[in-house]
């Protein structure tokens, strides 16, 4: 019955401990709504058939409802509405009160990506890894405008505001991958501000966390990157493309010459770029690498310094793969001019 109704109403999978309880109330409420609107509609149709006009001078009796009927008009819907309210509110209170044994993950939203930081180590862009069956509390803030963290399968949503923290907790039932959507309108990239929750088996999660910590430590020490983090051997350009996709580069940089939030990567290599302080530079390997690590330092004229630093987030071999990928993006046309301005720019930096 649950499964049938869920599919009829196009509800997504029930992947958190909230989902099933929320859906039960959902079914009850929607069924009542259907029954009521159909009953009203059918009564109107019945009256229309039964009492259709027979002559143009027909008279009708003056009828007013007795007091008990008016009272019924108030009490019947009111008792339904109050029942919904109390059922809904008790579930709401549960959803708004994180259990004390929750593990915390910090969430930082910005146009148009999600960043996740674990208190004891790694951080990630757009991918939130959590263990199944454990209470997870998200502590969320935004760096620019209001966003909203939404995972339909978990039936959770919470606005993410600049200048304050909001929290949201959940407990994912089964290992799986679920899309994170931004539900509060935040500009040109709103609809592609998507991320993913990867729910892992608890043991897999511990393994991942340990390896991520190892990688972090080795990179901080300057030692050679651990084998876990080196891109697998293969075509560097293909790897670069994959890494760029994973890191969310394409949200701001196009590869086909179209204007976007950041300069296009097409023909970027060795392009003569004018910076916002008037200096002319050559976009060589060194500049491309500097731009990933300290993007605000040398900003191409006409663009806003909105790019986050990828220092510590991409390893040496990954940078190399990215640079090789950018170098491979050459069009046939001979282009010499600097970048055009952005298609979209925020009014001021944050």
């Amino acid at each position: 019955m649950n499964e049938l109704l869920r599919r009829l109403l196009f509800l997504p999978d029930q992947a958190s401990t909230f989902a099933r309880d929320v859906d039960q109330l959902h079914f009850f409420v929607i069924l009542t709504t259907f029954v009521m609107s159909t009953a009203v509609g059918m009564t109107a149709v019945f009256f229309f058939i039964r009492y259709r006009r027979r002559s143009e001078t027909q008279t009708t009796p003056h009828i007013e409802p007795p007091a008990w009927m008016e009272a019924l008009f108030v009490t019947v819907p009111l008792s339904f509405f109050l029942l919904w309210f109390f059922m809904g509110f008790s579930e709401f209170v549960r959803q708004q009160t994180p259990p004390s044994d929750s593990m915390d993950v910090y969430v930082m939203a910005k146009k148009w990506m999600w960043k996740f930081a674990y208190p004891d180590g790694p951080n990630a862009i757009n991918v939130l890894r959590v263990p199944a069956g454990r209470n997870v509390r998200l502590l969320m803030t935004s760096r620019d405008v209001i966003h909203s963290f939404y995972v339909p399968e978990f039936r959770i949503k919470k606005d993410v505001l600049p200048g304050r923290y909001t929290d949201q907790w959940f407990n994912a039932l089964e290992p799986g991958r679920y899309q994170i959507l931004c539900a509060e309108y935040c500009g040109a990239g709103h609809s592609i501000m998507r991320g993913e929750v990867i729910v892992m088996k608890p043991q897999d999660y511990e393994d991942w966390l340990a390896s991520a910590k190892r990688g972090l430590a080795s990179r901080q020490d300057g030692a050679p990157t651990s084998i876990d983090f080196a891109p697998p051997i293969g075509n560097l350009i293909e790897q670069g493309k994959r890494i760029a996709a994973e890191q969310g580069c394409f949200k701001c940089h196009s590869t086909d010459g179209t204007r976007h939030i950041g300069p296009t990567w097409l023909d970027l290599y060795h392009r003569r770029e004018k910076l916002n302080d008037g200096k002319l530079i050559d976009a060589d390997e060194a500049y491309l690498t500097r731009s990933m690590m300290d993007p605000a330092l040398e900003v191409v004229d006409g663009f806003q310094p909105v790019m986050p630093s990828f220092e510590g987030r991409v390893s040496g071999p990954e940078v190399a793969a990215l640079v090789e990928y950018i170098k491979s993006l050459q069009s046939d046309a001979v282009r010499t001019g600097p970048s055009e301005g952005p298609a979209y720019a925020p009014v001021r930096n944050r």
Binding site: F10, F48, Y51, T59, F73, V74, W84, P346
Partner: protein, 549 residues
């Protein structure tokens, strides 16, 4: 009511006074008129133009949504379009549609007055509307805004698009709304005909009166809010933007303090129209007159205390969510009372299935479904999944289109002979009504399902599994569009070539039918004395024409 000395007077030979339409035909005689009927007609033309403009935006949005990826327009273009769709439909169409157009025309006739209390202010309200619309359209032509009609900060205080002219336009339109509301309140208090006490007033007048209270009390808050956003953009004053020490949630509280009651500005007049027309077409006294009248006032009052249900996921406290949740349930009750009483009115009536009645049926069904999904949305735990998804979009379109636009169309068809003295083609009327009701369902029922499925609103691109339902919705919207175009065509034909209609083609006993159709400029030669309730069909003779010479 002294009604039917009429036809005998006419036969006795005194020539009827010219109708308000014939009393001066120059452009200036319209632009400089103080006649409430002419102001109403000018508003009617203006809101219909706005409706088609907003409709074109809506259809373009639906066309884009046929494809999950980029299609037809870029993201910025899409964001501007949905903003314009919202701004035009809400501020230029829905808010003035019924009060300023039909309210202006019919309300003084219904209470037996020669005009509204402040005829010059009434004309000024129309020019404020035009000025606000012109400034907003200037903003659209110069790039438009991409904030959504809700102007949420800090996005609206930082985006580089043309937010300022749109905000200024909204600010000025607000004054048009306040002035009209003020005018109606004073008119109802001071200009009622002898014998017309409060408990005899037509229910449409009650609806407009309740609306006017909200317009006068709530609209200033919108004015203040958009003014602060403007100053924040213009002078860097930090009220809502946290980067400058402001509070973005404060904006949401202030905005919804207006915009939730504004929903009732759009719906209460629609309910008034239905209260009138359901009586006229069922030829029956209103079942529970007092309940319908008082629930309008109840909605106007409780509607002010429910704004927080727009903020369940915005980080307000759990206690606030509970308080606003339970208050929202009460607003639903007032609407339920009305619905039961409208259906009750049909009991033992004499129902004629004419075009306006088709819209009444649509209205009843859509209002129950739209209203109950609204109560469902106010159920806190359910709102978390639905908030900012297409479920919300579908819900408020059920109310805004399913209720307000259906009532607007019912009013347009019901009062068309009153306003212009012409008859439209009944067959085409029914064809258009069925297309619209069918198209409406096909457009918005899939959007409820999309919301359940988890598609957030204001999405330019969307994950591919949402495509089938989006295509269904777009298909429905084209039907809806065709329906409106058909209405435009047959009404234009009726205006130009339509048959002269009878003075009271529906045999209605609403008070506005006491005078000629179209009425003369001064409405009544002799102010009528009201002795009975509106829509008393215990006797069959229709209200005649008050003698007008």
């Amino acid at each position: 009511m002294r009604l039917s000395e009429t036809d005998s007077a006419r036969l006795a030979g005194s020539p009827p006074a010219p109708s308000y339409l014939e009393d001066g035909t120059t452009l200036m005689s319209w632009l400089n008129t103080r006649d409430h009927k002419r102001v109403g007609v000018m508003f009617l033309v203006a809101v219909i133009v706005s409706f088609f403009l907003g409709g074109i935006f809506a259809l373009s949005l639906r066309m884009k949504l046929l494809q999950p990826g980029p299609f037809l327009m870029d993201a910025l273009g899409y964001n501007r379009l949905f903003t314009l769709h919202g701004v035009v439909m809400i501020f230029l169409f829905l808010i003035p549609a019924i009060p300023s157009a039909f309210g202006n025309f019919v309300l003084p006739l219904m209470i037996g007055a020669r005009d509204v209390a402040f005829p010059r202010l009434n004309l000024a309200s129309f020019y404020l509307y035009l000025a606000g619309a012109a400034i907003a359209i200037y903003g659209m032509v110069h790039g438009g805004a991409d904030t959504g009609w809700t102007f949420y900060t800090p996005y609206s205080s930082t985006t580089p698009t043309q937010v300022l002219p749109i905000l200024l336009g909204v600010f000025i339109l607000g004054f048009s709304s306040i002035v009209t509301g003020l005018n109606f309140i004073v008119t109802v208090h001071t200009l009622r005909a002898p014998g017309l006490n409060w408990m005899k007033m037509p229910l449409f007048v009650w609806g407009i009166y309740a609306t006017s209270i909200i317009q006068v009390l709530a609209t200033p808050v919108l004015g203040i809010t958009v003014l602060i956003v403007s100053v924040e953009r213009f002078a860097g004053f930090g009220m809502f933007d946290p980067a400058r020490g402001g509070d973005p949630v404060l904006f949401q509280h202030m905005f919804w303090f207006y915009s939730h009651p504004a929903v009732y500005i759009m719906v209460l007049p629609a309910m008034g129209v239905i209260s009138e027309t359901v009586c006229a077409f069922a030829r029956k006294n209103p079942f529970g007159y007092k309940a319908i009248a008082m629930s309008s006032i109840g909605i106007a009052f409780v509607g002010f205390f429910t704004w927080g249900h727009h903020l369940f996921v915005a980080g307000q406290s759990t206690f606030d969510a509970g308080a606003f949740g339970i208050l929202s349930m009460l607003v639903g009750i007032f609407t339920a009372i009305k619905i039961f009483n409208w259906v009750g009115t049909m009991y033992r009536g004499a129902i004629a299935f004419k075009t306006p009645f088709a819209y009444i049926c649509g209205f009843l069904y859509f209002l129950v479904f739209g209203g109950m999904t609204g109560v469902a949305l106010a159920t806190t735990s359910l709102d978390i999944h639905w908030h900012d998804t297409y479920f919300v979009v579908a819900h408020f379109h059920f109310i805004m289109v399913g209720a307000s636009v259906m009532a607007f169309l019912a009013a347009l068809h019901y009062w068309f002979p009153k306003m212009f003295g012409k008859t439209y083609h009944e067959g085409w009327g029914l064809v258009a009504a069925s297309l619209i009701i069918l198209g409406f369902n096909a457009t918005f029922v899939p959007q409820f399902l999309l919301g359940n499925y988890g598609m957030p609103r204001r999405y330019y691109q969307y994950p591919e599994h949402f495509q089938a339902l989006n295509v269904a919705s777009t298909a429905g919207s084209t039907l809806l569009g065709f329906g409106f175009v058909i209405i435009l065509i047959y009404l234009a034909i009726a205006l130009r070539w339509g048959q002269r209609s009878e003075q009271n083609p529906w045999g209605s006993k609403g008070f506005e039918w006491m005078t000629a159709s179209p009425p003369p400029t001064h409405n009544f030669d002799e102010i009528p004395t009201i002795t009975q309730m509106p829509h008393d069909y215990r006797t069959h003779e229709p209200p005649g024409v008050i003698r007008v010479t």
